[in-house]
Symmetry: C2
DNA sequence: CGAATAGTGTCTCTAAGACAATATCGT
DNA sequence: ACGATATTGTCTTAGAGACACTATTCG
């Protein structure tokens, strides 16, 4: 059976155009935006960069970039994280695709947003260095219902308002924080923030949870819940005793897989 | 301050290109794919259409279409649902954006997938009518861990295999079913399947849950849980007694907002 | 010993699930 | 009365949370 000729007869006009001349259609630009989170000094922090071009000149923005033709969106996100922060291995998750017609005033841009968990130590710059226009902002606030409670605080203590951010990035950040908080107990996200997934204490892990949820957790209950959930499925394993710490030494755990 | 000239001096080469000549870059095509679900005869069903063009000629596919420049992805999804199934009001949710380089053999295509809940009665065609190449397939199977357990059954009883579907649509469907099952208890998704959100019985609502989860639920426990969760927050309200039914008449409820 | 941190035990309360019992219709 | 469906009740168990207590190190 000659599918090709059969095919040609059956084509509707619309399908014909789609198949044989897709370039006739205008196409939106496609970018990848990355919300790079880390936990530092007990706080959840987010990497923002200061724009030095129009539009939104001088505003803070989530790092991003155009999608290349030979890479998937996730590969593009990984590439941009390497370029922007010098981080190689990273726990990535797709957040949402933003496609409002007017979200970029220049042209039609669709953004596929990802969020990532990175240990503070792996970030390729130190606090206050300011070599690039990048800075870590601590992330606090309730975010339950649309209470507009997100608080972003810079290293110098300055608090950002929605108007300090470019594009629709303020609302993207809110979406990301909510998503992270919702998924932290039943995904492996938290482990991405650990300095060493091969040897950590449950107290260190709890600090990560507390930073993300922005509230204190009960020490005993956290320990019990985590051990039940993860040790049962073999996701964490006991290693050996910590050494030379202040106070009672803690058991070290290893994250498996 | 003349931001424009200031801007021009500060532009990096890459940013210059991005801002002033975006058309120099190749761009992927962007499509919207829609997983249109309904509940019929106690089963969860999904609308698929048979392709009559290459590639994947004769295979079943999720309906979709190219994104127009003047509409958001969600608006495009709403438009395609209207075109494909004649449905106006629909509960839509973004599923995921698929961007593998090779997912469409013709060219680079990025697909933003949405899933939708529609009552069977609102679908603009009847069972077996076959006016178009569209058909409802019942959706069953476990899907816990990658057990590859999805089962799609056509109206004539034929069971589809992954090879019967176009592109990466088999795996998109699995993702959608998992997502729906995960979100059904804490979103309003289930109500979208009701024939009349303004007057339904808890038994009808339970049938929707059972169809989506593909398992029987305890009658008493379902009732208690739903009433606690939704009546407390004022999401459902009692209306009046059902009339003329077989067996004891049920209380009718109204979904608010 | 005291400060500091790690880890255990206990009590309460809520909610899920299994399952039995009762209520109200049409015929 | 009987079949059919709706609705309520009871018992058990798992888990979340609050909170008190014990353990082990260093200096």
């Amino acid at each position: 059976m000659d599918l090709t000729s059969m095919n040609a007869e059956k084509l509707s006009e619309k399908e014909y155009l789609e198949q044989y001349d897709p370039s006739k259609y205008d196409r939106p630009s496609v970018t990848v935006d990355i919300l790079l989170f880390t936990v530092d000094k007990g706080e959840l922090k987010l990497l923002l960069i200061r724009r030095d071009t129009m539009p939104f000149y001088g505003k803070w923005a989530i790092p991003g970039g155009f999608l290349h033709m030979e890479e998937s969106a996730e590969e593009a996100a990984v590439r941009r994280i390497r370029e922007e922060a010098g981080v190689e291995d990273v726990r990535l998750e797709q957040l949402y695709t933003f496609s409002d017609v007017k979200r970029d005033p220049r042209m039609r841009v669709i953004s596929i947003a990802y969020y990532a968990a990175v240990p503070r130590g792996k970030l390729g710059f130190a606090a206050g260095t300011e070599t690039s226009a990048a800075e870590l902002f601590s992330v606090h606030g309730e975010l339950s219902e649309d209470g507009e409670e997100l608080r972003l605080t810079g290293e110098n203590g300055a608090v950002l308002t929605p108007g300090d951010l470019a594009f629709d990035h303020w609302s993207i950040i809110k979406t990301a924080v909510q998503r992270m908080r919702g998924k932290i107990d039943y995904t492996d996200l938290a482990f991405g923030f650990l300095a060493d997934q091969g040897a950590f204490t449950l107290s260190e892990l709890r600090l990560v949870f507390e930073a993300i949820l922005d509230r204190a957790l009960d020490v005993g209950n956290f320990r019990r819940t985590i051990k039940r959930e993860y040790e049962k499925q073999g996701r964490i394993e006991e290693l050996e005793m910590e050494k030379g710490a202040v106070g009672r030494p803690a058991m070290l755990y290893r994250f498996v897989q």
